[in-house]
Amino acid sequence: MENKLKVYRAMHDLTQEQLAEEIGVSRQTVNAIEANKYLPSLGLAFKIAKLFKTNIEKIFICEKNDEK
């Protein structure tokens, strides 16, 4: 699973701390998601997508290897 959270965060001019505050998680969690070290829950993924007014699949990209 790949994600473009960092890109979307930059596009909206948000810091990790501000994004964390908006979606109700810690800054470390945002950092872990961006670094692909932690896969967010469906609820959190929806929250992020809603905040950036886009679809989940535009932020979180499922690779072919993930489907196996």
């Binding site: 810690s26 969690t29 829950s41």
Partner: protein
């Protein structure tokens, strides 16, 4: 006034340091009362600070806690189970050295370990059962 996690952590370090100093002093003074008062004051202060803090427990931290609890169970349960067996086995092996009663504490320790492992397994089974029910497991799917 509320405070953030960082401030709370700083306060916690200070309080722990303070309690450590008080306990060390009480050990030097041989005063049980001073150490009790120090620890209780520290606990009270931390509870107060925590109530003023907007502590954020997010899903990543929950996942970490779940995995840590799983790992702890996976290590602790076999350790005390095997420990209990190893401690109880010599007492029931019929060896004369264990029959004199000098090594009775080994058997008692083995019994404590055995009951502990039993308690751990039962607690796990009960909590698993309730959590399974809570998260929709065990129901019929034929409707």
């Amino acid at each position: 006034m509320g405070m953030n996690n960082k401030k709370y952590r700083q306060i916690r370090v200070l309080v722990i340091f303070f309690v450590g100093v008080i306990v060390a002093l009480s050990l030097l003074q041989d005063s049980f009362l001073l150490s009790t008062a120090g620890v209780l004051t520290g606990m009270l202060f931390l509870i107060l600070a925590r109530s003023k803090t907007k502590i954020r427990l997010d899903e990543r931290e929950k996942t970490i806690r779940e995995k840590a609890a799983n790992l702890t169970y996976a290590i602790f349960a076999p350790t005390i189970g095997i420990g209990a067996f190893l401690l109880l086995f010599p007492a029931h092996s019929g060896l004369s050295v264990f029959a004199k009663g000098e090594w009775l504490f080994i058997e008692s320790l083995g019994m404590v370990f055995a009951y502990l492992s039993l308690f751990l397994i039962i607690t796990y089974a009960i909590s698993y059962h309730f959590l399974n029910k809570k998260y929709g497991g065990g129901g019929s799917d034929g409707e």
